[in-house]
């Protein structure tokens, strides 16, 4: 068996393959649902209903997609330049923590809301950047592989967050529970739908996706970053400043992940805890890949992942089967989607 690259993937295939992937994932998940003793078709219906069928489901799906879009973009930007940022999870947390810390400055609470929001978003992004610049610095200076360092920094970041929210940043009004002081009211993102959790962060995430797309597809920076990723030697020969380009990429990637944390804390939770992220950082990596590292595709992949999760989670509650089925379904559809994407790009021959 051999695989040949399709130079001109067909449009029908591009449309059919993801459908096939979802189908395959649902069949396998259905098997598990059946083993758990529930009616499979009822379960499928409930997944759809859970994700779209109500105001609640719909808003929850979009709410969950918001941070995923941003962490997905963070991974996509970095991976394009072959900067293996596995640390979006940590960057997410320090982004969130930085916003909470910034909010503790008394003067911030007195700022007009739009200014406070913009400043907080900026602070979160910068914190994320710094956390990624560290492993990049180690790579550029000492040649340390950033896959491992950025991964390890996730644990350090979460422990650091834990230390801060039990220490200097602990909310004295939180009954001793380890959580940070809440962000001031003027930095809370406005809601998009009343009586739901959907907030303006979604619009920021969408805008970021477009901005990142434009940056990658239309600007000199985008072209250089891609060149540096695909072939450092050829890029250097063409005069691309490798170090500077990578630093810029790291700022963008870490910044987006930090922004995701900032937005989550400003839009949904209001304060930082150590379970702020159900692996948004790691999921972002998979989402970026599903999107083929295309920023616009990231929106679709994030939505897809959110639909699967929110839908399956709700289904598990409705049917009383173990709620872990939600993660199983998401993971399965991610894997089948990867294979489907592969098949759109390659054909199997003898």
């Amino acid at each position: 068996m051999r695989f040949e690259r399709r130079e001109h993937p067909s449009t029908t295939l591009n449309l059919l393959a993801p459908l096939g992937a979802v189908l395959a994932a649902l069949i396998v998940a259905g098997l598990l649902i059946a083993i758990a003793g529930a009616n499979v078709f009822e379960a499928y219906g409930l997944i759809l209903k859970g994700a779209f069928g109500s105001r609640l489901g719909f808003s929850e799906t979009l709410t969950r997609a918001t941070p995923l879009i941003l962490t997905g973009l963070a991974a996509a930007v970095a991976f394009r330049a072959r900067l293996w940022n596995i640390g979006a999870e940590g960057q997410f947390y320090v982004g969130a923590l930085a916003v909470a810390a910034f909010g503790m400055i008394p003067a911030v609470a007195g700022l007009p809301a739009p200014l406070a929001i913009v400043l907080c978003l900026g602070v979160g992004a910068v914190a994320g950047m710094i956390l990624l610049l560290l492993p990049l610095g180690l790579r550029l200076k000492f040649g340390v592989d950033e896959v491992v360092t950025s991964l390890l920094l996730n644990f350090i970041a979460v422990l650091f967050v834990s230390m801060m929210i039990e220490g200097a940043m602990k909310d004295p009004l939180a009954f001793g529970w380890p959580q940070s002081v809440p962000v001031p009211d003027n930095a809370v993102l406005p809601k998009l739908m009343a009586r739901t959790r959907l907030h303006a962060g979604l619009l920021i995430a969408l805008a970021m996706a477009v901005a990142v797309w434009w940056l990658q597809a239309r600007t000199v920076f985008g072209m250089r970053a891609r060149a540096a990723g695909l072939s450092p030697r050829a890029a250097a020969f063409a005069g691309v400043p490798l170090g500077r380009t990578l630093v810029a990429v790291a700022c963008l990637s870490g910044g987006l992940a930090g922004l995701a944390g900032a937005i989550e804390v400003m839009g949904v939770k209001g304060y930082v805890t150590t379970d702020l992220s159900p692996s948004y950082g790691y999921s972002g990596i998979v989402i970026a890949m599903l999107a083929n590292l295309n920023p616009i595709g990231v929106i679709g992949a994030a939505l897809f992942s959110a639909v699967m999760f929110v839908g399956a989670d709700s289904m598990s509650r409705a049917l009383g089967i173990p709620s872990y089925i939600a993660d199983v379904t998401v993971a399965l559809s991610l894997l089948t989607m990867l294979v489907a994407l592969f098949l759109t790009q390659y054909r199997i021959s003898r």
């Binding site: 068996m1 051999r2 695989f3 040949e4 690259r5 598990l32 083993i35 758990a36 293996w84 596995i86 180690l138 000492f142 040649g143 340390v144 592989d145 896959v147 491992v148 360092t149 991964l151 390890l152 920094l153 996730n154 644990f155 350090i156 422990l159 650091f160 834990s162 230390m163 039990e166 220490g167 692996s279 790691y282 999921s283 990596i285 998979v286 890949m289 173990p322 872990y324 089925i325 939600a326 993660d327 199983v328 998401v330 993971a331 399965l332 991610l334 894997l335 990867l338 294979v339 592969f342 390659y346």
Partner: protein, 313 residues
């Protein structure tokens, strides 16, 4: 100072080092095998979880402990096959596939566990591996209880280090594995199918990861519960770099990491006023420091993370 001495001179401390190190040794050897053949396996965290679950479930439903380890190995190998097909055969991105497998294997384990053990007030237990004092040797003062009063899987882990080193450096198979990690085209040109070799090696490595997970439920503890692997898999990924992809150093790295873990637990009980998170950070920070120190000498397998598709240029 004398506190430090007390900690460092206690048999319990050093015994704990070896015990904490055991799952890391299995996991690290597993990652090492995969990377030696050119494939990053970030699926380890999930594979260890699955090994922990399957191993435990086997024993819980009446199998003996060794059968449990075997089941964990087989379960690991199964996910290794999946990882191998996706990365070695299809050439998909190794990061993403690995993370996807971690996501899948862990949630799948929890799901199966919940189906098998629907409801329980405290985690149901099995009779785990007990320490097996090696006759005579375990009577050596200090070293005896530390080294020779461990559970059987710990001895197995130590033995595996030697076996793996032998296989990698002294057998034709090991040479082919190392060659594939350096240049799959070269093995292909010598008539060995690098894709099959990769898949097989990933399966073997993942089997080790599964056993590492099972150690947690069958020796270190006696029950399974969700999230119990707690990032140990990721540590193994770091340890392999620290180990410069050599089994002997992998053992050293695992022991060193376990030393800091055991040490911080004990330090915590005697040192006041320092946030406990700092202690918990210690092993991770030291790993990064070690990576910096080692980086210059590291000889990364050249084909690591490079997909190989036959007949593609």
């Amino acid at each position: 100072m004398s506190l430090l001495f007390d900690i460092l001179s206690s048999v319990g401390m050093w015994e704990a080092v070896l015990r904490i190190a055991t799952p890391l040794i299995f996991g690290t050897l597993g990652v090492l095998l995969c990377e030696r053949v050119g494939v990053l396996n970030l699926g380890i965290e999930g594979i260890m979880t699955f090994g922990a679950m399957v191993g435990w479930l086997t024993v819980y439903s009446g199998g003996n402990l060794w059968l449990g380890l075997l089941a964990a190995a087989a379960g690991g190998a199964l996910f290794g096959l999946l990882h191998g097909v996706l990365t070695a055969l299809l050439g998909l991105s190794q990061h993403v596939t690995g993370l996807g497998i971690t996501l899948f294997a862990s949630s799948f384990s929890y799901f199966v566990f919940r189906l098998a053990v629907p409801t329980a007030s405290s985690p149901p237990t099995v009779e785990p591996f007990r320490a097996y004092p090696v006759p005579v040797l375990s009577e050596i003062p200090f070293l005896g209880p530390v080294l020779f009063n461990q559970t059987a899987p710990t001895y197995l882990a130590l033995g595996l280090v030697a076996v793996l080193a032998y296989v990698l450096y002294r057998t034709p198979l090991g040479l082919a594995i190392r060659m594939t990690g350096e240049n799959p085209h070269a093995v292909d040109a010598q008539g060995i199918d690098p894709i099959r070799l990769r898949i097989g090696t990933i399966m073997a490595g993942s089997a080790l990861m599964g056993v590492g997970g099972a150690f947690l439920t069958l020796a270190a503890f006696n029950s399974f519960f969700p999230t119990m692997v707690q990032g140990r898999g990721w540590i193994c990924v770091a340890l392999v770099v620290f180990a410069l992809w050599q089994p002997g150093r992998a053992l050293l790295g695992a022991l060193l990491f376990a030393f800091f873990d055991a040490f911080q637990l004990r330090l915590q009980t005697v040192v006041d006023g320092v946030p406990y998170q700092l202690f918990l950070m210690l092993p991770y920070v030291l790993s990064i420091v070690a990576l910096i120190v080692m980086a210059r000498r590291a000889r990364v397998p050249q084909a690591l993370m490079q997909p190989y598709r036959r007949g593609e240029r």
